[in-house]
Subunit: 418 residues, 2 copies
């Protein structure tokens, strides 16, 4: 399949972009070559697909079910009871809805941690985006849960051959307060042995750090280090409460950190994400939406704006989180975290990209495309999405979207009534 | 003109809404009466038009022109030099673009403070929304500027009869650091004598409060009190740095406060807006976008989300700024500030409303309409807008939108090159 995008206005100069197979192969002022499909890029800009570094996709089913509550009652009274009733079918439709929402807002790769792995894998496979999928691991120190998790992971990994290579299987121990040290060590070994990435929550709240000091006698990063988890294959969601030493250790070990501003704000977890110190130390910082119970959406454009605006005010510095830096964080980091060559509009890169509509008020005037994308737009400016060289959305229409919304809404209401 | 909206799904029950002239006259399960126009409300919710309590509409022309800078170099090197070159024609197209953006995101009333008043008035008049328009007043203590401002205001007020009653003329002294005490006193008297509202900036930065203490020997609210400005006809933009005594004085005088989260965050002005204390004291709090140089958009849905999320984290309380309270703040307060009976979907209220599309991923599932609107949606969920009983947008199309974007973009680029 060869796709030619004509006349895009990315840099105030018109360019044509040729996609052959799943790669961008030529970017020139005029390309005239026979192709299977021509896309008119007039009054549109071509930008890399967004990378959502942390989410729980199928939580779309619980969007708006419970808000404005303190963390623990919210989890214990509302979210966990619903999650305990989730079926594989529910997760399938929830993940389909999540993929739909991500495509509609220009995200082409996500990192997911949830239950019922095969349901999410099937949904992602069908919808055409990329996902580093982890099966959420919990053992609460119970031996039967440890064994069960090990077996589940091994069996899931064996079945990966049946999925598209857009799906990248990784390990997802939930957090240091829900997974035992023994299981964490096993995860580290298993990942090393099988060349897998690891993704976990870390230092999301001040309480988590205080508990780690009390229960383990050390701060969270030191605890992960002791259990052998640190390495360039580890990405950590949240990391709101790191000290200088922890930042240095993460940098020395090549770990990545995923900032989730919407969730951190809504749950009042905190807003002092140490982006400048992490950057200075050389740690790759990415952005995530978190799940839609705390988010409450999967729009990475909004996430960019939240990260930039709240970063500036938290550190009393309006020059921090510049539009250009924020945009790069939301796109280019996909390469560091997942290892795929994507996140840039350059020859040789994967054809994971969006066409953004410039002909809307919020993109007018177009003095600075990236400023408009970060500070003014939201994900609805995305008109067309291509992932892995295939068109997933054109003119804001995704094939089958009506059925996905209907089935997901049914699943959500049935879940609450069950 | 009679408009009938059929089958809207606002409260999980289907309702019909009848609009006669410029008012909502009936809301019932089934209305069958001859009308001039029927709007299909299936899979749509009817919500009040948003009230944008503080903006500088024509600054749309400078969107994305300068970002990520400290306040003073940003103003002195970038914004003020451009503003000095603005023509009435520029402001007209900038205000048209602003009105277009507001209609597209469901705002039906704004409070504007800018230069070239007639240009903004003409733009608003043509676009069909409501505006409390103030001509920005500055004198920097210079007698000729004082006289000039007085003459301008008197002549503008005389010409108001030529405009639609959707335009509400008010006085807009810029701030206590740009307007002399003498002119402030004149403004207070002139407003009282002519039954006009007053709108000004106050306590936007910590430095402004420090300067007031140094230059006037008192905090900003005390200074306004001394000059006779306080009263129920006064709305104040920002008010980030109020002490307890100032909050009590504002409450005792019936003043309103407009919170502008995007601008306060982006310029790193602060995030400790004392909403809970203002509410407890009985002060009406509204929301505004501020101008698009600091905003950078005019989307009140995004403003609701920013206010709620950053309010929760600033005060470490996830129960603050609940979705319902935030939505009411963004809509119902129009009545207190401008005196018009709007901001609610009730019989007898002005027909200033939107139809919101429920058939999009970010509104699915619809457990809680208001939560979805505040936490998940952005202004692009607005499908149809009615103001003063007239349809301004249907199926996201506003008549003449292409020309407005083209002319505003031209004006913007010419302004920079001039």
């Amino acid at each position: 399949m060869r796709i030619l995008i004509k006349n895009t206005e990315t840099d105030h100069s018109k360019k044509d972009i040729l996609i052959e197979g799943n790669k961008i192969t030529r970017i020139e002022e005029h390309i005239d070559t026979p192709v299977d499909k021509v896309i008119d890029g007039t009054r549109k800009a071509v930008v890399p697909g967004m990378f959502n570094g942390h989410t729980h996709a199928a939580m779309t089913l619980m969007r708006g079910y419970a808000d404005d509550m303190p963390l623990m009652p919210w989890l214990e009274e509302k979210i966990w009871p619903l999650e305990a009733k989730l079926t594989e079918e529910d997760v399938y439709w929830g993940a389909k809805l999540a993929c739909l929402e991500m495509i509609k807002t220009g995200t082409t790769t996500m990192v997911d941690m949830y239950h019922h792995f095969p349901a999410t894998a099937n949904a992602v496979d069908e919808m055409g985006i990329r996902c580093m999928i982890t099966h959420a691991g919990f053992d609460f120190g119970k031996p039967d849960m440890v064994e069960n998790y090990k077996k589940t992971v091994q069996s899931q990994l064996e079945k990966m051959a049946g999925y598209s290579d857009r799906i990248n299987y990784a390990l997802g121990p939930h957090a240091i307060y829900t997974v035992s040290a023994d299981l964490l060590k096993w995860v580290a070994d298993f990942a090393r042995h099988n060349g897998l990435n690891i993704h976990t929550h870390l230092s999301e709240t001040k309480g988590e750090v205080e508990d780690a000091l009390k229960n383990f006698g050390m701060r969270p990063v030191h605890y992960l280090k002791k259990d052998g988890l640190l390495g360039p294959n580890l990405s950590l969601a949240h990391c709101l409460y790191l000290d200088d030493d922890e930042i240095k250790i993460l940098a020395d070990n090549g770990c990545q950190v995923v900032h989730n501003p919407a969730s951190n704000l809504k749950l009042a977890s905190g807003n002092k994400f140490r982006s400048a110190d992490l950057k200075k130390a050389g740690v790759t910082v990415c952005l995530g939406t978190d799940g839609t119970c705390s988010g409450n959406n999967l729009d990475m454009y909004e996430t960019m704006k939240l990260a930039a605006l709240t970063g500036k005010v938290a550190w009393n510095d309006p020059t921090m989180w510049s539009a250009e830096e924020t945009f790069a964080i939301a796109t280019e980091t996909v390469e560091t975290v997942t290892g795929i060559k994507a996140g840039k509009i350059e020859e040789g890169y994967l054809a994971d990209l969006s066409l953004v509509n410039l002909n809307v008020p919020e993109m007018t005037p177009n003095f600075n495309l990236i400023s408009n994308l970060v500070y003014s737009a939201n994900g609805n400016v995305v008109d067309t999405v291509i992932c892995d060289g295939k068109v997933l959305m054109e003119n804001r229409k995704v094939p089958g979207e009506e059925e996905i919304m209907e089935k997901a809404a049914q699943a959500a209401f049935n879940l609450v009534r069950r």
